[in-house]
């Protein structure tokens, strides 16, 4: 890396741990080592802290504390609801979207292999799902579960959770509606009751909290089979000694994110648009992916014709700018991401997809430098041609 100053534009991958969150976590790493399942005061002190964290998250999300299940992160939360609900139930339909995170699509694929009828709801080129198609899928057959990624981790498109919820209620009220809100949490006003969702997924490290800390929040009761057999913690849904620091960290991070939601999203959206406007104005033969009006303020997916995303990524990284590649790793590798394919991005563009993801911690100078470097590197790589 030539440049000493790192410009971190990969906040959808993970965020740096907030110092305030770390401070709240420290006593539970350093001092209070009791096992929350122990009957003595050392354990009970930790139990109490975990319960407070559970209550706090429940009240922030509008769920009963009993519905807050602590897990190791987004992947486990999604697996727990999908595989746990399927459990011993009869094989029926599961509906997902084509924009899901692998923790949903791969979990659904496991169930498909067991005989579940896993179908994907269609979407438009911006990634918004086709509500009529969804309605048809729900009416056509008994559906156990609908999983929707609220905000796409790759292109940023936000689904209309309220409209989806309404369709579920009228077409198939028994269907469980799970919202993967890992990326959207803290971006939009969270209204589970109005939307009619039955569960949602949260990951602390996307919100300046610790890694290895997630929550599955349940808004109604149902039989769910645990993934792990063991000591019966978390209402027998997640056996294993709880991680108090991770739980306290998740509660604190979520609290901060929701408290500061408006100012953070305004700031983040401003930075995103600054880069987006520049690209649209100055770099020809590009495509901004996702939905223009229904998008999260922290994700900007752009496809650059005539180059490879991963190669551009390394050229930006050499200049200190950290981003993600959205699609193929190499010219010889034709594996394009399912999300990018679902948007119908032509291959020549899709291969050159980059995801910039922002946070309120970035300053405008960093964005301006990114604009300059990006336009130089794209021009250079287009001149050089595909490797």
């Amino acid at each position: 890396m030539k440049n000493n100053r790192t410009i971190y534009l990969d906040n959808a991958a993970t965020t740096p741990l907030d110092r305030g969150v770390l401070e709240k976590m420290m006593p539970w790493l350093r001092d209070h080592y009791g096992n929350p399942s122990s009957a003595h005061p050392l354990g009970q002190k930790v139990r109490q802290a975990i319960d407070e964290g559970r209550e706090r998250i429940g009240s922030l999300l509008g769920a009963a504390p009993a519905g807050v299940i602590f897990t190791s992160g987004g992947t486990e939360s999604n697996n727990l609801i999908i595989r746990g609900l399927a459990g011993s139930r009869k094989r029926s339909r599961i509906i997902i979207t084509r924009l899901e995170h692998p923790s949903v699509s791969e979990a659904a694929a496991l169930l498909a292999a067991k005989g579940f009828d896993v179908v994907s709801v269609a979407n438009d080129p911006s990634g918004r799902i086709d509500l009529n198609h969804l309605d048809g899928l729900l009416r056509e057959k008994e559906t156990l579960l609908l999983c929707v990624i609220h905000g796409s981790n790759e292109v940023g498109t936000i689904q209309d959770a309220a409209a989806i919820g309404q369709i579920v209620r009228s077409a198939s009220p028994r269907t469980w509606f799970h919202l993967d809100s890992v990326q959207s949490m803290g971006c939009v006003d969270f209204e589970p009751a109005r939307w009619g969702i039955d569960s949602c997924t949260l990951s602390a490290h996307k919100l300046f909290g610790p890694k290895g800390s997630g929550v599955l929040t349940l808004f109604r009761q149902s039989a769910i089979e645990p993934l792990l057999a063991g000591g019966g913690q978390e209402r027998n849904l997640r056996s294993g000694t709880e991680n108090p620091a991770a739980i306290i960290g998740a509660a604190e991070a979520l609290g901060l994110a929701l408290d500061a939601r408006v100012e953070r999203t305004v700031r983040t959206g401003f930075l995103r648009n600054r880069l987006k406007d520049f690209i649209e104005r100055e770099i020809p033969d590009t495509r901004v992916n996702g939905n223009a009006s229904n998008c999260m303020p922290h994700i900007l997916s752009v496809s650059f014709a005539g180059l490879l995303g991963e190669v551009l990524l390394h050229h930006l990284e050499r200049e200190g700018i950290m981003v993600s590649a959205g699609a193929a790793c190499h010219a010889a590798d034709s594996s394009l991401s399912e999300t990018i394919l679902a948007l119908g991005v032509p291959t020549r563009l899709a291969r050159g997809t980059i995801r910039f993801s922002f946070s309120h911690l970035i300053d405008e100078a960093a964005i301006d430098r990114t604009c300059t470097v990006l336009s130089e590197q794209v021009a250079y790589l287009r001149e050089v041609g595909l490797p």
Binding site: V311, H314, E317, H330, A332, V384, P387
Partner: protein, 393 residues
Amino acid sequence: MTPRPVIVIRYSEIGLKGRNRPDFEKALVANVKHALRGLEHGPVERPHGRLVVRDPADPPAAAAAAAEVFGVASVSAGLSVAADLETISRLAPQLVDDALNHLTGGGEVPFRVTCQRSDKNFGHNSMEVASRLGGELLQSFDRLKVDLKNPRLTLGVEIRRDEALLFSHRIAGPGGMPVGCLGNAVTLLSGGIDSPVAAWLAMKRGARMVFINYHSYPFISGASLTKVEALVQRLAHFQRGAALFVAPFADIQVAIKKACPEPLRTVLYRRMMVRLASRLAAREGALALVTGESLGQVASQTLENIRCIGAVAEYPVLSPLISFDKTEIIALARKIGTYDISIQPFPDCCTVFQPRKPRIAASLEEVEAAETALDVESLVSAAFDGLEKKVFT
């Protein structure tokens, strides 16, 4: 004197090397000591024609480590005992019993006793010692049967002035020459299967390797270097550490892609690699280049292309694998522990701007003509100035 464990290390070829022999032996001692790093042991002595490692804490481990050192013909873990026949005949059954327990299969075991006597004042000659011990052992062990020509078990006895060495098992060493005794060479190391094996073979004949790798960052990930580093780490084991120089190669590839005919790219890349390796050889005091070339294996390895590539070498290009089949190379790579590293799926510089149809048989004239479109000197100098050195111990 109580019996003490020893490792006896025999070498063959360097015993023949006349006036250079002391240098070779010193190199061997140093290499053996390096191989025994981390294993507790006493002094490494150099009595005539042998190395003896005193008091190894874990004799089988020490013997196995010493048996990987180039120049070693064979290794035995054994005992140092008092140089008198009574002691030897008292302790010999222990070693034989132990050796029998390690043999697979039952039934009769053909065996013999060999004796060497460097202390001619010892009261018995070699024949007498061997036949007396043999007779005693035959009485003690029903399974033994004398077979001087094809023994499965040999009890070795070496009688010196102040000790006798007893051993019953030999591990074959790799042979060859002690690494370093024949000077340095630069290996052009890709992340593939062949070049690490080529380096190992050249080390086996006594040359010490300096490694150069060509890296196309940022056209490929910086993480792909971890594989090359792992290969050098593994190879460093055979030669008391190693230096890896990583040459930034992307600018050269871009220049070739822009200015030269596509089918010639592979040959032109490799000429640039050889130029850089030659320059490194000069700076590092190396005397040859080593490549993993195997005749006809890929497009750059036809005789025509090898000639075009070698034409810019300022040092002899050694290609120990030139006559090897891929299956033979893979078998060796597995044996020396580089195969599993080499097959990790990381891209290397060869995949960048790969021509769709590389020229199978380039002529030197067309290659040189193509290079007139390049500022070869400044491209090579820039890459050479950008070399990054990593040292492995």
